[in-house]
Amino acid sequence: MSYKRWLWVLGSLSLIVLCLSLGAEPIKASEMFLKGSASYRILWELRLPRLLFVVLVGGALAQLGGTYQILFRNPLAEPYILGVSSAVVLGVVAGEALFHVPVLSTASAGLGFLCAGLATTLLVFISLHAGSRQVERIVLFGMGLNFVLSSILFLILSFYNQHIGGGSLRWLFGHVPWISFSGVAVLYALCLPLLGILYVLGRPLDAISLGDGVARTLGFSPNRQRIWILILSSVLLCALVTYTGAIGFVGLVVPHAVRLALRPSGSRTLFAFSFLLGAAFLVVSDSLSRILLPPFELPIGIVTTLIGGPAFLLLLWRRVQ
């Protein structure tokens, strides 16, 4: 690995660790290991599990963004393009507004998974019947689905907005919950294998990125690979969105930033660095959301866009220069 890449790895890891010290309350060094003290509880029961959670969410969103950009040969592709996340959001919000199912509960996650499952099934059905224009049709259908589901969501919100102020309304803007170690462990157990499989599928993705004809020549079935990746990524995305809502910009910007800064040779390198950079980016955004206007906590989706947008434009500008 080149010197430059090592520098990115070390920089990202240092940022992640450094952010552990940031929050609404200062941590007293003398109380850091004093069990029962406020500093101890803030550090070990609140910030550390939250940090591990954010690392996974940021990394996974960035890797998913990279996957979709290659899979659909579209630089504007991001994890929320296909409507699966909108389906999760609709399920969770409808659950809270209509049936008083609180966000973050098992029932709420179940509703989110159910809606995402239906959306994914529709997407797979379209993929199977799309013939040679599979990519375009999946993306177009996904965008259409997004619009329809968003309309239903706004319809529900327009009637029930006052009942969900502190719950799913906040979650809609992208929100990181205070999560326990056991909650983090469950999420890691579900997501890491999926991320691993998507990483392994990087090789067929490289072939697909060269065109369906080339992929077939190299022994891969592009349509079948797409369907598998679609299913796996939908499950992964659903797991993330049920916890955090839709956090924008990470999946779109980070893979591009990795391409611009490190010029990865293949999908797997792109995935690995996207995961690391996505994790660092979201951890920094989360810390900023908590320290910019303490004790108020800003929705993380707004912070990611505020930081990511200008940073991305700067990268592009440097590239043009």
Binding site: G23, A24, E25, A38, R41, I42, E45, L46, P102, V103, L104, F159, Y160, Q162, H163, I164, G165, G166, G167, R170, H175, P177, W178, S180, R290, P294, P295, F296, E297
Partner: protein, 268 residues
């Protein structure tokens, strides 16, 4: 949980030791005022939106947003019990304090009955007392004959018209005076938005509007004239400081309702 009273039985006599002061936190201005009425105000060490409260609560440390109080601040405040206002749906906050094992009491005032129940629950658990005048005021209102003698709409603001539904304390108080809230039950919302078309079809005897400034009163008057020109619908402005809270505050200002037949009775 720290118990307020320690009973010591000596030869059949009960002696009470001074209670340990609990450190309390609240998650809404309404719950802060409720605790203050129960005589527990001095024990509150942190709250949300202290800036909207009067002294001494105005200078309390802030826990941040009404919808998402800050957990780190709460831990640093080292509280014994948190009073959670469930009308705000602070789901993330409540889930987090549950997990952290911080004792909490939930309140959700939607009627005179729930006000009394929640106040009694807090008084028992935290060691306060409902002032006799307020208790008898609530009881006397509940005992009033429930005969509808006038219709009303209760608006949080007029443009767009946002009404108080039937499951709100203020609506229930007016109901106790014989009023009928014209907002239909089937809407099942605490604060439904009313369309102008709906308003044109309904003409209440009274329109109560929560107001913050004199300009609000004037604006409400203009809106009413637009909806029901030349009507005898009476506008009654309710100052937000007294009437926008779901606690004992509205009961302390009942004479401002200016309703026919309203007697001070048992109310302060």
């Amino acid at each position: 949980m720290v118990y307020r009273v320690i009973g010591i039985y000596i030869l059949g006599l009960v002696a009470t030791a001074p209670a340990t002061q609990l450190r309390l936190a609240t998650t809404s201005p309404d719950s802060t005022q409720l605790l203050a009425d129960l005589g527990l105000g001095a024990q509150i060490v942190a709250t949300v939106q202290p800036e909207v409260l009067a002294e001494p609560y105005r200078s309390l440390p802030s826990l941040g947003s009404l919808y998402l109080p800050n957990i780190e601040k709460l831990l640093a405040a080292n509280v014994d019990t948190v009073v959670v206002d469930r009308s705000l749906h602070q789901v993330y906050f409540e889930e987090a304090i549950e997990r952290l094992g911080i004792p909490h009491e939930g309140i959700h005032v939607t009627s005179l009955q729930s006000l009394l129940q929640d106040a009694q629950k807090l008084a028992q658990t935290l060691g306060g007392k409902i002032p006799d005048a307020l208790r008898s005021c609530v009881l006397s209102l509940q005992e009033r004959p429930q005969v509808a003698s006038f219709s009303f709409l209760l608006l949080a603001w007029t443009n767009p018209a946002m009404a108080f539904g039937k499951k709100t304390l203020l609506s229930d108080i007016l109901h106790a005076f014989g009023g009928e809230n014209l907002v239909p039950d089937k809407w099942n919302q605490s604060y439904p938005q009313l369309s102008v078309e709906w308003l044109l079809q309904h003409r209440p005897n009274y329109v109560f509007v929560v107001t913050y400034t004199e300009k609000d009163v004037e604006r409400a008057r203009q809106d009413l004239n637009k909806w029901w020109p030349e009507s005898d619908t009476q506008l009654i402005a309710l100052p937000a400081a007294q009437f926008s809270h779901a606690n004992f505050s509205p009961l302390k200002s009942l004479t401002q309702l200016k309703l026919r037949g309203l007697q001070k009775g048992a109310c302060p």
